[in-house]
Symmetry: C2
Subunit: 310 residues, 2 copies
Amino acid sequence: MAQVCVLSGGVGGARFVRGLVDVIGAAHVVVVGNVGDDDEFFGLHVSPDLDSLVYALAGVHDEQRGWGRRRETWNALDTARALGDDETWFQLGDRDLGLHLVRTKALRAGEPLSAVTARIAAALGVDVRLLPATDHRLRTIVRTAAGELSLQEWFVRRRARDRVEGLRFEGAAFAKPAPGVIEAIGGASAVLIAPSNPCISIWPILAVRAIQAAVRRARPVVAVSPLIGGKAVKGPAERMLRSLAGGTAPIHVAGCYDGLLDGLVLDEADASGAKAVERLGIRPTVTRTLMRDRRAARRLAEAVLEAARA
Amino acid sequence: MAQVCVLSGGVGGARFVRGLVDVIGAAHVVVVGNVGDDDEFFGLHVSPDLDSLVYALAGVHDEQRGWGRRRETWNALDTARALGDDETWFQLGDRDLGLHLVRTKALRAGEPLSAVTARIAAALGVDVRLLPATDHRLRTIVRTAAGELSLQEWFVRRRARDRVEGLRFEGAAFAKPAPGVIEAIGGASAVLIAPSNPCISIWPILAVRAIQAAVRRARPVVAVSPLIGGKAVKGPAERMLRSLAGGTAPIHVAGCYDGLLDGLVLDEADASGAKAVERLGIRPTVTRTLMRDRRAARRLAEAVLEAARA
């Protein structure tokens, strides 16, 4: 089997990628990860989605908490808080911090994000190729009544309470795909879009023009809906799609990837929306999409691969 | 009682300062701390001596280990090491790191070291006034057969194995005393030099010309020898004095502070060297100087205050 290329956000995408790797093996998967929610805290470059992918693929993620590392401690941030610092709303665990220190140093020394990501992944024993969408600066900016917010400000600091009026992807016009991304998409036997939040996890990837063009040329492109019964398993996808895509039915998810999809995998709970998707010329696949455990992720991966073959 | 001003290095000095505070109260002590061993790791500004002082005065230091914080964890640095980073020879604990993050951010935002040090000390409940010698960049550089090394490279990375041929204090010619330092020295009822390593803890302070001039004008100036029986309690003072001051007798310690001292407090084990000190016009005080515990530190502080009154 040739390689598949997965466009992915953080936690949910990481679960899906792990399932995929279980089914077809690490050598047959290339992941293009979102960097739109990257940010700086205490001057350290944080790449939440890439890190969720690395931690999950290395098996050092915290399954319960849903993000970050297992056996994590919080002594550095607790100290910063005790010293009166107000930048402590973004949770940085001590182990996590170690990675940010290494990456930030590398970036300051001029090493591209793609190179340091590969180094970090390899050091943690990850054998899946993981590429950031771009080595350039690309930031998801959330437009709200409270003004423009960085994604983390909106999501973490203000707990996603501000209604999202729009998004823009700062730097996207200048961002070039990271080395290997276009080749991975172009050479893939299928391009899969992980069950991540379309707006803040996948749009920033597609905001890189050359990536979008490459996905447009690729066949088949199959997305997995992150919604189950029109609701998000976790995170703000539901309200966001309502606001930015007109609703949370499969057709709205498909609409997020306008003109790109050959197939959409959706949950049994959304089966009634399959027909509308089909009318768009997109082949719907109805299955169970909740990745309760690794076995469920594997099953979903199999269904998605099957959909891509069809 | 008016204020005393103490020139101090890290751990040993911090013990002495704590004893002093126990005797005369925090309001009567101003500490001028060495910054010559400051350095950057992972782009973070580390001030080992100021931090030893803050931790000891806040009572959060690790008494057993002798440096750093109590109940410390090492997860960030362990992670950096696991990721193959080679800058992990300088031990940065997670709690310690929290302080470095806060300080580095403040320095980058333009806050002077003296201001951020005061903020940090206050946040940790330290009520002694603690001033860095200077807000400017001042670095102790160690000349060895292996070339010039930063103090931490020489001391920590290479474990002080290279013979010290000389020291220079980079930036000293441009460094101005931090706000309050000259006033603290000039207004003190006594200037005390803590039992720190003269060459690498006190010389960098005195390398700031205006500080040296102020100490030269001050009366009385009483130093405490860090050596006991010509040997260092801890650290490289013995070999360093042999190399840079011609020996480890009280007269050599006095020689480190040439022309500045009115009194020198030395250990009973070095009593035979008292006469030679006296011949220099410096009043020797012989007492027990080992600060085995807080009570011993208090006793030493009392003896030093007594010597300053004489």
